[in-house]
Structures are given as C-alpha cells and as structure tokens.
C-alpha cells in the first residue's frame, strides 16, 4: 500500500525511537524504506522542525530524536488511532 507523507514521517520517527532515540543514517535509510534522495528531503524537513538533530557519537554522525520529536511522535500515535477509529 502506498504510504502518504504522514505515514513516512511516522515510520521514520518510530525507527529512531526503536533504536533508543539515536540511529545511524544508514540504518534509518534501511528501516524507513526510502530512496536516499527522498530520505534527505524528509530529514531536512524533520531537522528544520527540530524533531530530529545530528549528533557525534564515538566519531560517528548519528541522528537523534529531540524532546519535541518524542512529543510529536506521541501526538502522531493518537492521531493514527483516532483516524483508524473514525475513518477520517
């Protein structure tokens, strides 16, 4: 089934959360099932909204979910449950 923008963002944030809030970009690319260019676009948007950020961990660049990102993911979960229930 074709995912919409909201589904893709949800999958990306869930992927980061499942790794304890910090993930390698290559792992995120694999887990979110996107092309490299698409993921770059989505990452840029999520970074600009301060939901994700780049951090250096043991000389490796990783992606970390911010506090705002965790709260947004929680809101998205409620939204999905609401959408599934009411079909809107």
């Amino acid at each position: 089934m074709r995912r919409n923008k909201q589904d893709i963002i949800y999958d990306m944030l869930v992927a980061v959360q499942s790794k304890g809030g910090t993930i390698l970009p290559t792992h995120l690319l694999y887990k979110s099932n996107l092309s490299h260019s698409k993921m770059k676009d989505y990452l840029a948007e999520l970074m600009s909204k301060e939901l994700l950020e780049y951090v250096e961990v043991n000389d490796k660049q990783k992606i970390r979910m911010t506090e705002k990102g965790f709260k947004f993911l929680q809101s998205l979960r409620k939204l999905r449950e609401f959408t599934d229930a009411f079909g809107i």
Binding site: Q6, F72, S75, L76, R77, K78, L79, R80, E81, F82, T83, D84, A85, F86, G87, I88
Partner: protein, 210 residues
C-alpha cells in the same frame, strides 16, 4: 402551521437532562481530540469533524436548556420553540457534516446540495417532529453502513466501537419516531442514544491512552 411535538414522559424529564449533559460532555471531548488532530497535521477534515461534534453538543445544550425552563415561566413557549428549533437544525447539520467527512466527499457543489436539500425539507414540512426524525434516521443509517464497511476493513476494536455507536444512534432515532405511538419508546430511544455516546467515550479513551 408548523408544530414541534415532544413525546417525553414527565417522569423522565430530569433523567433526560442528565443524559443530555453526558452527550454534551462526550461530544465536546470528541470535538477537542479532533481539533487537536487538525492542529498536528492541518488536514481540513479533522476541523470539519470537530465542528460537527461541537454543533452536536450545542444542539443537545439548546434542547436541555429548553427542558429546564418551567412551564410557568412567561418565556416558556419562546424558549421551547427556539431551543428545539436550534436542536433540530444543529443535529441535522452535524449528522450531515459527519456523513460528508466520513465518505470523504470533496466536491463543494455536492456538499452544498446535501445541505440545501435538507434544510427546506424541514422548514416546508407540516411537522418538525416527523421530518426531523425521518431525516436523522436516514442519515444515521447511512453513517452506520459507512462505519460497518470501515470496521470490516480496519478490523480494530475502536472502529467497531464507532460503528456500534452510529448503529445505536440509528436505533435511537427509529425509536424516537415510534414515540408518537407510545411514550415508552422515548425512554428506550434515550437509553440507546446514551449507549451511543458511551461507545464514543470508550473510543476516545482508547485514542487518548494510545
């Protein structure tokens, strides 16, 4: 001459007010959660859904207010007609909006046609009571059918709750129609309607706990 007839047994009047208060609370809760959803992703249908439930709570409030005014009050007649008039128009607007959003209609001319066809049907009718409950029975039946299809597709507890809620609303409106034959139907209709809002409440609690 247009008439508003209410087949509410007198012994049930106070309880009916409590039932209305519960319906208002649940409708406002659904409206608030839907508005919050709109705030997160700015999709118009969440705002319309919120507006529909907000209107529904307003419709229950005007009816509750009309029932609270004692028959000895000099403004009783005016309050009664305005209260029930607003209840009728508000409920139909709310149910129609729910139907339009649930069926993902996007053509503004089709939506306008829906509203325009129903409002004159109410005002040109000889009896507000029958035309109102016949229209709401049809819309709630369509809503129940829409949500049966959705629940079978999604297969989730909350979607079955929403289907059951609309089914209970449909049964409630059928019984409201029958209350002209026997006042006991008004009581059973109110119970069915209360059950519908309890089911909406269970759904919203599940959404908020997710």
């Amino acid at each position: 001459m247009v008439s508003v007839v209410v087949h509410n047994p007198e012994w049930f009047l106070r309880t009916d007010i409590v039932f209305s208060a519960i319906s208002i609370f649940v409708s406002l809760l659904v409206a608030a959660v839907s508005f919050r959803s709109w705030f997160v992703i700015k999709r118009l249908r969440y705002l319309a859904w919120s507006l529909a439930f907000l209107t529904l709570s307003g419709a229950f409030f005007t009816r509750m207010f009309a029932n609270l005014v004692p028959s000895t009050d000099p403004f009783y007649s005016l309050t009664f007609y305005v209260g029930y008039g607003l209840h009728i128009v508000g409920t139909i607007f709310a149910f129609l909006t729910l139907f339009i959003v649930a069926n993902k209609m996007e053509n503004p001319r089709v939506m306008a046609l829906f509203y325009l066809l129903i409002i004159p049907a109410i005002f040109l009718s000889a009896s507000y009571f029958f035309s109102f409950y016949i229209i709401t029975t049809i819309i709630t039946a369509m809503l129940a059918a829409t949500y049966l299809q959705h629940a079978l597709k999604v297969k989730r507890f909350s979607s079955f709750c929403v289907f059951s809620a609309f089914l209970m609303l449909f049964l409630a409106h059928v019984q409201f129609l029958l209350s002209s034959l026997d006042k006991v139907f008004y009581f059973s209709a109110s119970i069915s309607q209360l059950l519908a809002f309890v089911l909406f409440l269970i759904t919203i609690i599940k959404v908020l706990k997710s």
